[in-house]
Symmetry: C2
Subunit: 198 residues, 2 copies
Amino acid sequence: MAPKNDEQFKIIRDQRYEEISSAALKIFARKGFAATKISDITSSVNLSHGLFYHYFKSKENIYVSIIMNVLDMFIETVNEAENRKGTPWDQLVWFTELTFSGSPEEALDRRVLVIEAQHSDTLSNEIKQELNQKYAAAMKGIARIISKGQQDGIFVDGDPLELAIYFISLNQGLLLWNSKDIHPIKVSVNQVMRQLQA
Amino acid sequence: MAPKNDEQFKIIRDQRYEEISSAALKIFARKGFAATKISDITSSVNLSHGLFYHYFKSKENIYVSIIMNVLDMFIETVNEAENRKGTPWDQLVWFTELTFSGSPEEALDRRVLVIEAQHSDTLSNEIKQELNQKYAAAMKGIARIISKGQQDGIFVDGDPLELAIYFISLNQGLLLWNSKDIHPIKVSVNQVMRQLQA
DNA sequence: CAAAAAGTTGACTGATGAGTCAATCAAAAA
DNA sequence: TTTTTGATTGACTCATCAGTCAACTTTTTG
Protein backbone atom coordinates (compact mmCIF):
# COMPACT_ATOMS: atom_id res chain seq x y z
CA MET A 1 0.00 0.00 0.00
CA ALA A 2 0.87 3.61 0.11
CA PRO A 3 3.95 4.73 1.97
CA LYS A 4 1.93 7.65 3.29
CA ASN A 5 -0.88 6.46 5.46
CA ASP A 6 -4.16 7.51 3.97
CA GLU A 7 -7.15 8.20 6.17
CA GLN A 8 -8.72 5.38 4.19
CA PHE A 9 -6.56 2.76 5.78
CA LYS A 10 -7.40 3.80 9.24
CA ILE A 11 -11.08 3.63 8.42
CA ILE A 12 -10.83 0.16 6.93
CA ARG A 13 -8.69 -0.99 9.77
CA ASP A 14 -11.15 0.36 12.30
CA GLN A 15 -14.03 -1.32 10.54
CA ARG A 16 -12.25 -4.63 10.61
CA TYR A 17 -11.37 -4.09 14.24
CA GLU A 18 -15.04 -3.57 15.00
CA GLU A 19 -16.05 -6.60 13.00
CA ILE A 20 -13.58 -8.81 14.81
CA SER A 21 -14.54 -7.43 18.21
CA SER A 22 -18.20 -7.96 17.57
CA ALA A 23 -17.73 -11.56 16.52
CA ALA A 24 -15.39 -12.22 19.40
CA LEU A 25 -17.85 -10.76 21.90
CA LYS A 26 -20.42 -13.35 20.97
CA ILE A 27 -17.94 -16.19 21.08
CA PHE A 28 -16.37 -15.18 24.39
CA ALA A 29 -19.82 -14.85 25.93
CA ARG A 30 -20.89 -18.29 24.77
CA LYS A 31 -17.70 -20.24 25.42
CA GLY A 32 -15.90 -18.29 28.10
CA PHE A 33 -12.43 -16.86 27.88
CA ALA A 34 -10.43 -20.03 28.32
CA ALA A 35 -12.49 -22.17 25.98
CA THR A 36 -12.41 -19.63 23.19
CA LYS A 37 -9.75 -20.35 20.61
CA ILE A 38 -8.23 -17.67 18.45
CA SER A 39 -9.19 -19.90 15.56
CA ASP A 40 -12.84 -19.67 16.65
CA ILE A 41 -12.63 -15.95 16.19
CA THR A 42 -10.61 -15.88 13.00
CA SER A 43 -12.71 -18.50 11.26
CA SER A 44 -15.93 -16.69 12.09
CA VAL A 45 -14.70 -13.55 10.43
CA ASN A 46 -12.43 -14.80 7.68
CA LEU A 47 -9.16 -13.72 9.12
CA SER A 48 -5.91 -15.59 8.97
CA HIS A 49 -4.36 -16.67 12.21
CA GLY A 50 -1.36 -14.43 11.86
CA LEU A 51 -3.38 -11.39 10.90
CA PHE A 52 -5.32 -11.56 14.11
CA TYR A 53 -2.16 -10.49 15.87
CA HIS A 54 -1.92 -7.36 13.78
CA TYR A 55 -5.19 -6.23 15.27
CA PHE A 56 -4.78 -7.42 18.83
CA LYS A 57 -1.75 -7.97 20.93
CA SER A 58 -3.04 -11.15 22.51
CA LYS A 59 -6.13 -13.10 23.40
CA GLU A 60 -6.36 -11.32 26.74
CA ASN A 61 -5.97 -8.00 24.99
CA ILE A 62 -9.03 -8.40 22.80
CA TYR A 63 -11.01 -9.78 25.71
CA VAL A 64 -10.29 -6.85 27.97
CA SER A 65 -10.87 -4.30 25.24
CA ILE A 66 -14.28 -5.80 24.49
CA ILE A 67 -15.34 -5.77 28.11
CA MET A 68 -14.27 -2.20 28.66
CA ASN A 69 -16.22 -1.23 25.60
CA VAL A 70 -19.34 -3.01 26.85
CA LEU A 71 -19.13 -1.21 30.16
CA ASP A 72 -18.62 2.14 28.47
CA MET A 73 -21.77 1.53 26.47
CA PHE A 74 -23.61 0.62 29.64
CA ILE A 75 -22.60 3.92 31.21
CA GLU A 76 -23.61 5.75 28.08
CA THR A 77 -27.06 4.16 28.05
CA VAL A 78 -27.65 5.17 31.65
CA ASN A 79 -26.58 8.71 30.87
CA GLU A 80 -28.88 8.77 27.92
CA ALA A 81 -31.77 7.68 30.13
CA GLU A 82 -30.92 10.34 32.68
CA ASN A 83 -30.83 13.12 30.10
CA ARG A 84 -34.07 12.13 28.49
CA LYS A 85 -37.24 14.11 28.61
CA GLY A 86 -39.86 12.80 30.97
CA THR A 87 -40.18 11.83 34.60
CA PRO A 88 -37.63 9.60 36.32
CA TRP A 89 -40.27 6.90 36.02
CA ASP A 90 -40.35 7.31 32.27
CA GLN A 91 -36.59 7.30 32.14
CA LEU A 92 -36.34 3.96 33.91
CA VAL A 93 -39.14 2.51 31.82
CA TRP A 94 -37.20 3.52 28.75
CA PHE A 95 -34.06 1.96 30.14
CA THR A 96 -35.85 -1.29 30.99
CA GLU A 97 -37.53 -1.52 27.63
CA LEU A 98 -34.23 -0.94 25.93
CA THR A 99 -32.68 -3.76 27.93
CA PHE A 100 -35.22 -6.29 26.73
CA SER A 101 -36.06 -4.95 23.32
CA GLY A 102 -34.02 -5.28 20.18
CA SER A 103 -31.90 -8.35 20.32
CA PRO A 104 -32.10 -9.91 23.76
CA GLU A 105 -29.33 -12.24 22.74
CA GLU A 106 -26.87 -9.45 22.30
CA ALA A 107 -27.86 -7.95 25.61
CA LEU A 108 -27.39 -11.32 27.18
CA ASP A 109 -24.00 -11.85 25.59
CA ARG A 110 -22.81 -8.57 26.99
CA ARG A 111 -24.17 -9.43 30.40
CA VAL A 112 -22.68 -12.89 30.55
CA LEU A 113 -19.37 -11.55 29.40
CA VAL A 114 -19.21 -9.06 32.23
CA ILE A 115 -20.28 -11.61 34.83
CA GLU A 116 -17.51 -13.92 33.74
CA ALA A 117 -14.96 -11.15 33.72
CA GLN A 118 -15.90 -9.99 37.19
CA HIS A 119 -15.43 -13.50 38.48
CA SER A 120 -12.37 -14.29 36.51
CA ASP A 121 -9.31 -15.46 38.34
CA THR A 122 -7.11 -14.79 35.37
CA LEU A 123 -7.60 -11.05 34.97
CA SER A 124 -5.28 -8.83 36.98
CA ASN A 125 -6.67 -7.00 39.96
CA GLU A 126 -5.86 -3.74 38.27
CA ILE A 127 -8.12 -4.53 35.37
CA LYS A 128 -10.86 -5.89 37.57
CA GLN A 129 -10.76 -2.68 39.53
CA GLU A 130 -11.13 -0.55 36.42
CA LEU A 131 -14.01 -2.76 35.43
CA ASN A 132 -15.70 -2.29 38.79
CA GLN A 133 -15.23 1.46 38.61
CA LYS A 134 -17.03 1.63 35.32
CA TYR A 135 -19.81 -0.50 36.69
CA ALA A 136 -20.11 1.68 39.74
CA ALA A 137 -20.31 4.77 37.57
CA ALA A 138 -23.32 3.35 35.74
CA MET A 139 -25.00 2.43 39.02
CA LYS A 140 -24.54 5.94 40.32
CA GLY A 141 -26.39 7.23 37.27
CA ILE A 142 -29.35 5.00 38.00
CA ALA A 143 -29.25 6.02 41.63
CA ARG A 144 -29.47 9.66 40.57
CA ILE A 145 -32.60 8.96 38.56
CA ILE A 146 -34.15 7.14 41.48
CA SER A 147 -33.21 9.93 43.85
CA LYS A 148 -34.98 12.45 41.66
CA GLY A 149 -38.03 10.19 41.56
CA GLN A 150 -38.06 10.03 45.33
CA GLN A 151 -38.10 13.82 45.54
CA ASP A 152 -41.10 13.79 43.23
CA GLY A 153 -42.71 11.23 45.49
CA ILE A 154 -43.15 8.58 42.83
CA PHE A 155 -40.56 6.11 44.14
CA VAL A 156 -40.34 4.33 47.50
CA ASP A 157 -38.05 5.70 50.16
CA GLY A 158 -34.66 4.18 50.82
CA ASP A 159 -31.05 4.53 49.83
CA PRO A 160 -31.15 5.32 46.10
CA LEU A 161 -28.05 3.29 45.38
CA GLU A 162 -29.50 0.25 47.10
CA LEU A 163 -32.71 0.61 45.18
CA ALA A 164 -30.68 0.92 42.00
CA ILE A 165 -29.02 -2.36 42.89
CA TYR A 166 -32.38 -4.08 43.31
CA PHE A 167 -33.54 -2.61 40.05
CA ILE A 168 -30.50 -3.70 38.07
CA SER A 169 -30.39 -7.08 39.77
CA LEU A 170 -33.93 -7.81 38.68
CA ASN A 171 -33.23 -6.61 35.15
CA GLN A 172 -30.20 -8.75 34.83
CA GLY A 173 -31.69 -11.72 36.57
CA LEU A 174 -34.50 -11.65 34.04
CA LEU A 175 -32.05 -11.33 31.21
CA LEU A 176 -30.31 -14.45 32.43
CA TRP A 177 -33.59 -16.22 32.84
CA ASN A 178 -34.59 -15.57 29.28
CA SER A 179 -31.35 -17.07 28.08
CA LYS A 180 -32.42 -20.49 29.29
CA ASP A 181 -34.27 -22.77 26.98
CA ILE A 182 -36.99 -23.22 29.54
CA HIS A 183 -39.97 -20.95 29.47
CA PRO A 184 -38.68 -17.55 28.40
CA ILE A 185 -41.12 -14.81 29.34
CA LYS A 186 -42.15 -11.50 27.92
CA VAL A 187 -40.87 -9.15 30.57
CA SER A 188 -43.50 -6.81 31.95
CA VAL A 189 -42.07 -3.40 32.58
CA ASN A 190 -44.80 -2.77 35.11
CA GLN A 191 -43.81 -5.77 37.14
CA VAL A 192 -40.21 -4.60 37.11
CA MET A 193 -41.20 -1.11 38.19
CA ARG A 194 -43.39 -2.40 41.05
CA GLN A 195 -40.26 -2.67 43.06
CA LEU A 196 -39.68 1.06 43.01
CA GLN A 197 -43.26 2.23 43.07
CA ALA A 198 -44.10 4.40 46.07
CA MET B 1 -6.64 -54.11 52.20
CA ALA B 2 -9.31 -56.63 52.75
CA PRO B 3 -10.36 -58.95 49.97
CA LYS B 4 -13.89 -58.58 51.26
CA ASN B 5 -15.11 -55.06 50.91
CA ASP B 6 -15.93 -53.58 54.27
CA GLU B 7 -18.63 -50.96 54.61
CA GLN B 8 -15.85 -48.84 56.03
CA PHE B 9 -14.13 -48.42 52.72
CA LYS B 10 -17.21 -47.25 50.98
CA ILE B 11 -17.68 -44.64 53.66
CA ILE B 12 -14.14 -43.37 53.39
CA ARG B 13 -14.37 -43.39 49.64
CA ASP B 14 -17.62 -41.43 49.75
CA GLN B 15 -16.13 -38.90 52.12
CA ARG B 16 -13.20 -38.34 49.83
CA TYR B 17 -15.57 -38.10 46.90
CA GLU B 18 -17.48 -35.39 48.71
CA GLU B 19 -14.32 -33.59 49.65
CA ILE B 20 -13.08 -33.56 46.08
CA SER B 21 -16.45 -32.51 44.72
CA SER B 22 -16.72 -29.67 47.16
CA ALA B 23 -13.29 -28.33 46.34
CA ALA B 24 -13.90 -28.74 42.64
CA LEU B 25 -17.20 -26.89 42.85
CA LYS B 26 -15.48 -23.81 44.13
CA ILE B 27 -12.74 -23.98 41.53
CA PHE B 28 -15.06 -24.63 38.60
CA ALA B 29 -17.24 -21.71 39.67
CA ARG B 30 -14.31 -19.35 39.88
CA LYS B 31 -12.35 -20.39 36.81
CA GLY B 32 -14.91 -21.96 34.54
CA PHE B 33 -14.82 -25.45 33.14
CA ALA B 34 -12.19 -24.96 30.46
CA ALA B 35 -9.77 -23.01 32.61
CA THR B 36 -9.90 -25.47 35.48
CA LYS B 37 -7.03 -27.92 35.47
CA ILE B 38 -7.25 -31.32 37.09
CA SER B 39 -4.12 -30.28 38.93
CA ASP B 40 -6.00 -27.30 40.40
CA ILE B 41 -8.40 -29.74 41.96
CA THR B 42 -5.90 -32.35 43.06
CA SER B 43 -3.52 -29.86 44.60
CA SER B 44 -6.28 -28.20 46.58
CA VAL B 45 -7.21 -31.47 48.21
CA ASN B 46 -3.96 -33.37 48.34
CA LEU B 47 -4.68 -35.96 45.77
CA SER B 48 -2.27 -37.38 43.26
CA HIS B 49 -3.04 -36.86 39.63
CA GLY B 50 -3.61 -40.49 38.91
CA LEU B 51 -5.81 -41.04 41.92
CA PHE B 52 -8.22 -38.43 40.71
CA TYR B 53 -9.19 -40.81 37.96
CA HIS B 54 -10.12 -43.47 40.46
CA TYR B 55 -12.81 -41.17 41.73
CA PHE B 56 -14.01 -39.62 38.50
CA LYS B 57 -14.04 -40.89 34.98
CA SER B 58 -13.06 -37.58 33.46
CA LYS B 59 -13.05 -33.84 33.93
CA GLU B 60 -16.45 -33.55 32.34
CA ASN B 61 -17.73 -36.34 34.54
CA ILE B 62 -16.96 -34.54 37.80
CA TYR B 63 -18.29 -31.28 36.38
CA VAL B 64 -21.64 -32.73 35.39
CA SER B 65 -22.02 -34.66 38.61
CA ILE B 66 -21.42 -31.52 40.64
CA ILE B 67 -23.96 -29.51 38.69
CA MET B 68 -26.63 -32.18 38.93
CA ASN B 69 -26.04 -32.32 42.64
CA VAL B 70 -26.38 -28.55 42.98
CA LEU B 71 -29.67 -28.61 41.12
CA ASP B 72 -30.97 -31.48 43.21
CA MET B 73 -30.23 -29.47 46.32
CA PHE B 74 -32.00 -26.50 44.83
CA ILE B 75 -35.10 -28.61 44.25
CA GLU B 76 -34.85 -29.98 47.75
CA THR B 77 -34.66 -26.53 49.28
CA VAL B 78 -37.76 -25.45 47.41
CA ASN B 79 -39.60 -28.54 48.56
CA GLU B 80 -38.51 -27.89 52.09
CA ALA B 81 -39.89 -24.37 51.87
CA GLU B 82 -43.16 -25.64 50.46
CA ASN B 83 -43.61 -28.20 53.21
CA ARG B 84 -42.86 -25.79 55.97
CA LYS B 85 -45.33 -24.57 58.50
CA GLY B 86 -46.55 -21.06 57.95
CA THR B 87 -48.12 -19.00 55.21
CA PRO B 88 -46.79 -18.99 51.66
CA TRP B 89 -45.38 -15.59 52.52
CA ASP B 90 -43.42 -17.06 55.40
CA GLN B 91 -42.23 -19.88 53.20
CA LEU B 92 -40.78 -17.53 50.61
CA VAL B 93 -39.25 -15.34 53.30
CA TRP B 94 -37.56 -18.42 54.68
CA PHE B 95 -36.33 -19.36 51.24
CA THR B 96 -34.98 -15.87 50.58
CA GLU B 97 -33.26 -15.66 53.92
CA LEU B 98 -31.69 -19.02 53.33
CA THR B 99 -30.37 -17.85 49.98
CA PHE B 100 -28.52 -14.93 51.47
CA SER B 101 -27.64 -16.27 54.88
CA GLY B 102 -24.89 -18.68 55.71
CA SER B 103 -22.06 -18.40 53.28
CA PRO B 104 -23.06 -16.15 50.41
CA GLU B 105 -19.93 -17.22 48.62
CA GLU B 106 -21.00 -20.81 48.44
CA ALA B 107 -24.43 -19.81 47.22
CA LEU B 108 -22.77 -17.68 44.63
CA ASP B 109 -20.43 -20.43 43.51
CA ARG B 110 -23.37 -22.72 42.97
CA ARG B 111 -25.21 -20.06 41.06
CA VAL B 112 -22.31 -19.12 38.81
CA LEU B 113 -21.65 -22.77 38.10
CA VAL B 114 -25.18 -23.35 36.88
CA ILE B 115 -25.18 -20.20 34.78
CA GLU B 116 -22.04 -21.30 33.05
CA ALA B 117 -23.32 -24.80 32.53
CA GLN B 118 -26.56 -23.57 31.03
CA HIS B 119 -24.62 -21.46 28.60
CA SER B 120 -21.95 -23.96 27.87
CA ASP B 121 -21.30 -24.93 24.30
CA THR B 122 -19.34 -27.98 25.34
CA LEU B 123 -22.01 -29.90 27.24
CA SER B 124 -24.19 -32.20 25.18
CA ASN B 125 -27.76 -31.19 24.55
CA GLU B 126 -28.92 -34.24 26.42
CA ILE B 127 -27.22 -33.11 29.57
CA LYS B 128 -28.35 -29.54 29.17
CA GLN B 129 -31.88 -30.78 28.83
CA GLU B 130 -31.67 -32.79 32.02
CA LEU B 131 -30.27 -29.73 33.70
CA ASN B 132 -33.13 -27.58 32.48
CA GLN B 133 -35.66 -30.13 33.63
CA LYS B 134 -34.32 -30.02 37.14
CA TYR B 135 -34.35 -26.27 37.09
CA ALA B 136 -37.91 -26.24 35.84
CA ALA B 137 -38.93 -28.61 38.62
CA ALA B 138 -37.65 -26.18 41.24
CA MET B 139 -39.45 -23.29 39.58
CA LYS B 140 -42.70 -25.19 39.60
CA GLY B 141 -42.35 -25.63 43.33
CA ILE B 142 -41.99 -21.90 43.83
CA ALA B 143 -44.91 -21.30 41.52
CA ARG B 144 -47.03 -23.60 43.69
CA ILE B 145 -46.20 -21.59 46.78
CA ILE B 146 -47.10 -18.37 44.98
CA SER B 147 -50.31 -19.85 43.70
CA LYS B 148 -51.35 -20.76 47.21
CA GLY B 149 -50.53 -17.25 48.36
CA GLN B 150 -52.70 -15.83 45.62
CA GLN B 151 -55.63 -17.90 46.81
CA ASP B 152 -55.08 -16.48 50.27
CA GLY B 153 -55.06 -13.02 48.75
CA ILE B 154 -51.58 -12.12 50.00
CA PHE B 155 -49.82 -12.11 46.62
CA VAL B 156 -50.49 -10.10 43.48
CA ASP B 157 -52.45 -11.66 40.67
CA GLY B 158 -50.74 -13.04 37.60
CA ASP B 159 -49.35 -16.27 36.24
CA PRO B 160 -47.68 -17.95 39.25
CA LEU B 161 -44.85 -19.31 37.16
CA GLU B 162 -44.08 -15.89 35.75
CA LEU B 163 -44.10 -14.39 39.20
CA ALA B 164 -41.80 -17.16 40.34
CA ILE B 165 -39.44 -16.19 37.56
CA TYR B 166 -39.41 -12.57 38.71
CA PHE B 167 -38.84 -13.69 42.26
CA ILE B 168 -35.96 -16.00 41.42
CA SER B 169 -34.46 -13.53 38.98
CA LEU B 170 -34.29 -10.87 41.65
CA ASN B 171 -32.82 -13.31 44.16
CA GLN B 172 -30.16 -14.42 41.80
CA GLY B 173 -29.46 -11.00 40.41
CA LEU B 174 -28.80 -9.85 43.97
CA LEU B 175 -26.60 -12.83 44.61
CA LEU B 176 -24.52 -11.89 41.60
CA TRP B 177 -24.41 -8.31 42.68
CA ASN B 178 -23.03 -9.18 46.07
CA SER B 179 -20.24 -11.11 44.44
CA LYS B 180 -18.76 -7.94 43.06
CA ASP B 181 -16.23 -6.06 45.04
CA ILE B 182 -18.24 -2.91 44.70
CA HIS B 183 -20.74 -2.04 47.34
CA PRO B 184 -22.22 -5.32 48.51
CA ILE B 185 -25.52 -4.78 50.26
CA LYS B 186 -27.41 -6.39 53.07
CA VAL B 187 -30.38 -7.80 51.20
CA SER B 188 -33.72 -6.71 52.60
CA VAL B 189 -36.21 -9.52 52.46
CA ASN B 190 -39.03 -6.99 52.54
CA GLN B 191 -37.74 -5.29 49.45
CA VAL B 192 -37.53 -8.63 47.69
CA MET B 193 -41.07 -9.53 48.74
CA ARG B 194 -42.47 -6.19 47.58
CA GLN B 195 -42.60 -7.65 44.13
CA LEU B 196 -45.14 -10.25 45.14
CA GLN B 197 -47.11 -8.24 47.68
CA ALA B 198 -50.79 -7.88 46.81
C1' DC C 1 4.04 -64.40 57.30
C1' DA C 2 2.06 -64.70 52.57
C1' DA C 3 -1.44 -63.64 49.50
C1' DA C 4 -5.00 -60.75 48.04
C1' DA C 5 -7.16 -56.60 47.15
C1' DA C 6 -7.41 -52.03 47.03
C1' DG C 7 -5.07 -47.46 47.38
C1' DT C 8 -1.63 -44.52 45.43
C1' DT C 9 2.00 -42.62 42.54
C1' DG C 10 3.95 -39.70 38.88
C1' DA C 11 6.27 -40.22 34.52
C1' DC C 12 4.67 -40.56 29.94
C1' DT C 13 1.93 -39.73 25.60
C1' DG C 14 -0.62 -37.36 22.44
C1' DA C 15 -3.36 -33.54 21.38
C1' DT C 16 -4.16 -28.93 21.34
C1' DG C 17 -3.63 -24.13 20.85
C1' DA C 18 -1.20 -19.35 21.69
C1' DG C 19 1.95 -16.60 19.75
C1' DT C 20 6.02 -15.91 16.20
C1' DC C 21 8.09 -15.04 11.95
C1' DA C 22 10.02 -15.22 7.44
C1' DA C 23 8.05 -14.96 3.19
C1' DT C 24 4.65 -13.26 -0.10
C1' DC C 25 1.18 -10.07 -1.89
C1' DA C 26 -0.88 -5.81 -3.37
C1' DA C 27 -1.66 -0.99 -3.87
C1' DA C 28 -0.01 3.66 -4.04
C1' DA C 29 3.59 6.79 -5.09
C1' DA C 30 7.56 8.12 -7.69
C1' DT D 1 7.69 0.31 -14.21
C1' DT D 2 9.91 0.20 -9.89
C1' DT D 3 9.97 1.05 -5.22
C1' DT D 4 7.96 1.28 -0.88
C1' DT D 5 5.39 -0.33 2.85
C1' DG D 6 1.71 -2.18 5.16
C1' DA D 7 -1.45 -6.35 4.65
C1' DT D 8 -1.57 -11.13 4.76
C1' DT D 9 -0.30 -15.95 5.13
C1' DG D 10 0.23 -20.38 7.51
C1' DA D 11 3.84 -23.44 8.99
C1' DC D 12 6.42 -23.73 13.06
C1' DT D 13 7.67 -23.74 18.09
C1' DC D 14 6.88 -24.43 22.61
C1' DA D 15 4.18 -24.95 26.63
C1' DT D 16 0.35 -26.98 28.72
C1' DC D 17 -2.82 -30.43 30.05
C1' DA D 18 -6.14 -34.63 30.05
C1' DG D 19 -5.98 -39.14 30.53
C1' DT D 20 -3.14 -43.79 30.85
C1' DC D 21 -0.51 -47.17 32.96
C1' DA D 22 2.88 -50.04 35.06
C1' DA D 23 4.87 -50.12 39.29
C1' DC D 24 4.75 -49.52 44.26
C1' DT D 25 2.52 -49.21 48.97
C1' DT D 26 -0.62 -50.25 52.51
C1' DT D 27 -3.94 -52.88 54.94
C1' DT D 28 -6.57 -56.92 55.90
C1' DT D 29 -7.47 -61.70 56.13
C1' DG D 30 -6.19 -66.64 56.36
